[in-house]
């Protein structure tokens, strides 16, 4: 599903240049649940941003579902993001003035889905994350766990090939974290490819494969026996 070869990325900080990714080679097959681990500054978020086409690599190749992602202009990048990817952020990034339902329906709006159908679909995804009763609430009327579940529903709404989660449990307590991870596992069980960036070992344990990043390079890439989050809830 995802193929990355020799990926480099550096940031300019004034006159200095900070080399963040130093040649990453990395493959993800369909249906995998991969966690990317590393201490802060290891480049894991940068990698995720490049995977999510939110940021561009300096060198190297990136293929997503057979499409070479290269020299994208904003318009095509937006189209690809909408078609291929669903994002889950640490800070949820829900639009504050829109209800849970409207937030979930937003990617569908950008797909050009008509309003009625949009609402029906968004509602079914909200049901899937167990928040059908909260559809009319604004984000600030929801708990952290609920917000993240809305965000997950939103990420799923456009039916993407890959879900990218950047520290999805970073702002949550452990109990809620496990609930969210449980939801992610369930979605993965249905065959969806998911990448999770985390620095919490217990969260990483709940994926099927752990990729360890240090100083911009992959130092370890191991398949693990998945711990079901449900056990901890």
């Amino acid at each position: 599903m995802i193929t990355i070869k020799d990926l480099h990325k550096s940031y300019k900080m004034g006159s200095n240049s900070l080399h963040v990714l130093k040649g990453i080679n990395f493959n993800v097959a369909e249906g995998e649940l991969v966690s990317i681990m590393g201490s802060s500054g290891s480049g894991k978020s940068t990698l995720l941003n490049i995977l999510g086409m939110l940021d561009e690599a300096d060198a190297g190749s990136y293929t997503l579902d057979g499409v070479v992602i290269k020299n994208l202009n904003e318009k095509i990048a937006a189209r690809y993001r909408n078609k291929f990817l669903g994002f889950i952020f640490q800070s949820f990034n829900l639009i504050s003035y829109k209800s849970a339902l409207d937030n979930v329906a937003l990617p569908l709006y950008y797909q050009g889905v008509k309003r009625g159908e949009r609402i029906d679909k968004a509602m079914s995804y909200l049901e899937k994350v167990g928040l059908a009763n909260w559809s009319g609430h604004l984000p600030n009327e929801l708990s952290g766990g609920q917000k993240q579940r809305v965000a997950i529903a939103r990420a799923l709404a456009s039916d993407p090939k890959v879900l990218l989660a950047d520290e999805p449990t970073g702002a949550l307590d452990s109990k809620t974290s496990y609930e969210v991870m449980n939801l992610i596992q369930e979605i993965n069980d249905e065959g969806r490819t998911i990448l999770v960036v985390t620095h919490e070992p217990d969260i990483a344990e709940m994926t099927k494969r752990i990729v360890n990043l240090k100083d911009g390079q992959i130092i370890q890439d191991t398949e693990v026996k998945q711990v079901r989050a449900l056990q901890n809830v």
Binding site: E74, N93, I95, Y110, Q111
Partner: protein
């Protein structure tokens, strides 16, 4: 731009951000409101000043005499100059083609006018029929003095509106009634009104021939008044009237044996000279209000731009989220502009309507000599609304464009 889905999204955003929408709208509406009111008052001032100058025909020349101040051909200074009918007749005949209206005027001093028990002291003057037009008087009732009255020495009188109000009971018809001027019966034939107001309306006119005969005026006249035929432009009119007044002055000085450099004996008030000053003043007033208006628009544009900048800044994070969810840059720009144009247009028209209503209903209530009937050219007002909307859109476009171009990752980091 016009698809239903976009409109739904815009309305949704507006509904959920009432305060922001209200504040944007308020600044636009108040800008337009202030501008229209200003332009209205400017127009009102111009109207008011025009009225002040409209008391007499705009190009009237008024001639009166005084005493000589210089000795000339053996005649002492301090001699009173008395104009005669011949002076008027000669001038009228000589300039027959150039003159539009002409009249001599004989004043009856100490004219006490009474009707039954009411009486008052008014300016009583003998005039020719043209005098109505020289004074810009309008008839409320009856008619003005005519040539037949003059030929037949008719004892008829035309009253100013104030004189009528003073002497006659309200709504009593004065036409055909007899009043006494210095004890002599005159028949009322008309009531006139004058844009000069009460002062001008407290005058009484009788035929000049009657005045001279009844009040012992012989062939004396006190004043002459002329207007020239209209010219195609102001400069020509001014030149013609200057030429006429110079010739007339020379003629009068010759016939009355006055030193050519004596500027006391003959006075000619050429109102075109004054009109020029008046038109200059009008232009100044016009320029001033346009200046103020343009500054107001600029202030409005700056205000709208400011708000648009803040709105886009405030929405940077939202824009990042939308981009991460697959919004194309054009759709972001479209969304911001669509909303801002929609809000500024509605608000602009609200401001326009409120200010026009205010001018319409409060304007006529303003009672001061210098502001009359404030009004505004609707097209001008409409144009300003569009300028403000376009300016708002332009001001919104650049931040929106920039916001649409920043990478979503940067926008998402924005706190």
């Amino acid at each position: 731009m016009f698809e239903l889905e976009r409109w739904e999204e815009i309305f949704d955003t507006i509904r959920k951000n009432k305060l922001r929408t209200f504040l944007t709208g308020l600044s636009v509406a108040s800008g337009i409101f202030i501008l229209v009111i200003l332009l209205g008052i400017g127009q009102g001032m111009r109207n008011g000043i025009s009225n002040q100058f409209q008391q007499d025909a705009a190009n009237i020349m008024y001639i009166w005499t005084g005493t000589t101040s210089k000795q000339y051909k053996g005649l002492n200074p301090g001699r009173r100059i008395q104009m005669k009918n011949e002076d008027f007749n000669y001038t009228a005949r000589k300039n027959e083609d150039e003159l539009e209206y002409k009249s001599a005027l004989f004043r009856i001093w100490g004219g006490i006018v009474n009707y039954k028990k009411e009486s008052g002291s008014y300016r009583v003057e003998g005039v020719y029929p043209d005098y109505q037009f020289l004074e810009n008087s309008g008839m409320i009732l009856g008619r003005f003095v005519n040539y037949k009255d003059d030929e037949n020495f008719e004892k008829v009188v035309v009253l100013g509106n104030k004189v009528r109000n003073d002497l006659f009971k309200k709504e009593a018809d004065p036409i055909g009634e007899y009043i006494q001027v210095s004890g002599i019966n005159f028949k009322v034939i008309g009531v006139f009104t004058d844009p000069g107001g009460e002062r001008e309306e407290s005058r009484v006119f009788i035929p000049i021939s009657t005045a001279q005969r009844v009040f012992g005026g012989a062939n004396n006249i006190n004043n002459m008044a002329f207007t020239l035929q209209p010219e195609e432009n102001f400069e020509k009119a001014l030149a013609a009237s200057n030429k006429f007044s110079e010739e007339l002055e020379t003629y009068l000085k010759e016939t009355h044996t006055i030193a050519p450099n004596d500027d006391r004996a003959i006075n000619i008030n050429n109102s075109l000279e004054q009109a020029k000053r008046f038109y200059d003043l009008m232009d100044m007033v016009k320029f001033f209000f346009w200046g103020v208006g343009i500054c107001t628009i600029i202030a409005g544009v700056v205000g709208v731009s400011n708000i648009m900048l803040i709105i886009v800044k405030e929405r940077t994070r939202e824009i990042g989220i939308r981009k991460a969810l697959g919004a194309e840059p054009l759709s972001i720009i479209g969304m911001v502009l669509h909303e801002s144009i929609f809000v500024t247009t509605i608000a602009g028209f609200v401001g326009l309507i409120f200010s026009l209503l205010l001018l319409e209903f409060v304007g006529p209530l303003i009672e001061t000599e210098y502001i009359t009937n404030p009004e505004v050219n609707f097209n001008v007002a409409l144009t300003t609304v569009f300028i403000l909307v376009i300016a708002g859109a332009l001001a919104g476009f650049f931040p929106a464009w920039r916001a649409a171009r920043i990478k979503p990752i940067v926008a998402l980091r924005d706190e």
